[in-house]
Amino acid sequence: MKGRTRFESIKEWLIERIIWICGVSSILFVFAIFFFVFREGSAFLFRGFKPVEFFTSIEWYPTSQSHVRYGALALILGTFSVTTLAMLIAIPFGLGAAIYISEFCSARVRETVKIIIELLAAIPSVVWGFIGLTIMNSLIIRLFHAPIGLTMLNGGIILALMSVPIVVSIGEDALKAVPDSYREAAIAMGCTRWQLVYRVLLPAARNGLLAAVLLGIGRGIGETMAVLMATGHSIRIPTSLLDPVRTLTATIAAELGEAAVHSDHYQVLFIIGILLFMITFIINLTADLIVKGIRKQ
């Protein structure tokens, strides 16, 4: 290190620090967000919060004059029903598309389709919400003769379209990661392309595909703007696809601006935030563990 000038070693030190800060900041931000959300909701969480009511009652009257109630069951069910519906659509389509792109199409088609799917992922969620509010809305009214088209079905379809790109790109990566020698060996034994897919590739890429599905679900649960615009936003336990629903995320988005800062209502919204944070955290963690499982193999 003799030839090194003082300036150079300071520069080196500085660059190392900056890179270190970049790396650590992402961890810091996640913890800061969690801390902030928790702090905003914590006072009420330990004082007047009724967990039983929160999880079992559908009576969400945060601004009632006489009797304020914070029953979030309908919201929780709203989130889960819309997400489930979205996944019922997105998983078969997404995995099917991933299989097609990875195994069945020509190189040229593959490049085109991948670009389009990336484009799909880049559409802002408010634009999706807009499509739900206008095109899907009138379509559902016309097709099902429903009084209103802003329903669970509408939100589910929009959400599915938003999740498909994630499922496709991660699912395709998982299939591509299966060694070609498996394909060659199976084909040499005389199996057809479809037998190859369901007998060899799907089992071999199982973990990666599961991760793709879980990340798609995470996307669905966390999505706010599009579902707020497309689902009708009314508090009820949905009994049919054509019922409007309201989700946890949409509730926060719609009500936080109205709630007085540090009021009970405000804090309950943050408790919903904590709940969402935990759900997505668990899903991401599971996906992560599964992906790690693949690498070990």
Binding site: S181, Y182, E184, I187, A188, M189, G190, R199, P203, A204
Partner: protein, 252 residues
């Protein structure tokens, strides 16, 4: 004159502009072990891909010429899956599918539509016995095939290649990833299998061809230099000077 199992006529293969096989013709007789020797890049593995028509799956590969199996042009067969099942391929590096030992061997019969547990059990046992692996794995058929050692995995792929009852068994440098003892065991297995099928043994090890093969073909640079009885190829009587030099390690 012996029966021809395979007849190859003026076979040419190119990948893009690169010629891999430059017009070769020869016969493979019923129930013989044909050794194919030659340095890397001489078109031996490509030849095997032509036989089971997996060459068609490689982008940019062009094939001309004909290959007859039992007198039938294989390129005109409508059921390519049946053709592939009638040819067993063992690749240089063992490829255990990520399935159990049992499922690895039962894979091809299941593809072909065998469903009965009894039949599958019988087939799995027969093939593992033939590949000299049965005694080592009979107590743990449900463990993952990829957990086996390299030599065991190679025998597993042989068992798997036997499971669809091939008429032709092609081994592509099966011994490069395994130890000498296992290699000798597999060589014994091949000698026994000769009575039931035709075996094509592609190898880099000229001594292996000398030990096993009834006839030996020497390929170099996409051309068939010479094909004759192994005894002839490995003697001074070899017709082409290059063959003599190759088998004696003068070049290669």
């Amino acid at each position: 004159m012996k029966n021809s199992k395979l007849t190859i006529k003026d076979l040419r293969v190119r990948f893009g502009h690169k010629q891999a096989i430059k017009g070769i013709s020869f016969d493979v007789y019923q129930n013989e072990i044909l050794g194919i020797i030659g340095p890397a890049q001489s078109g031996k593995s490509t030849l095997l891909k032509v036989l089971n028509r997996t060459i068609e799956l490689i982008p940019g590969a062009h094939t001309s010429g004909q290959v007859f199996m039992d007198g039938q042009d294989i390129q005109k067969l409508s059921n390519v899956y049946k053709l592939r099942r009638s040819i067993g391929i063992v690749s240089p590096l063992p490829v255990g599918l990520p399935l159990s030992i049992y499922d690895n061997v039962a894979f091809a019969p299941r593809m072909a539509g065998v469903r009965k547990k009894r039949d599958l059990d019988d087939c799995v046992e027969r093939c593992l016995r033939q590949a000299a692996l049965w005694d080592e794995v009979k107590t743990r058929l449900q463990t993952l095939g990829t957990r086996l050692s390299g030599g065991q995995q190679q025998r597993l792929t042989i068992a798997r290649a036997l499971s669809h009852e091939p008429q032709v068994l092609c081994l592509d440098e099966f011994s490069i990833a395994i130890d000498p003892v296992t290699t000798m065991r597999i060589e014994e297995v091949l000698k026994e299998l000769r009575s039931q099928m035709t075996i094509i043994l592609v190898t880099n090890l000229v001594q292996q061809a000398r030990r096993l093969a009834d006839r030996t073909a020497f390929m170099f640079n996409g051309e068939l230099v010479e094909i004759d009885d192994t005894k002839v190829i490995f003697s001074e009587k070899a017709a082409v000077r290059q063959t003599y030099e190759y088998v004696n390690g003068v070049f290669g």
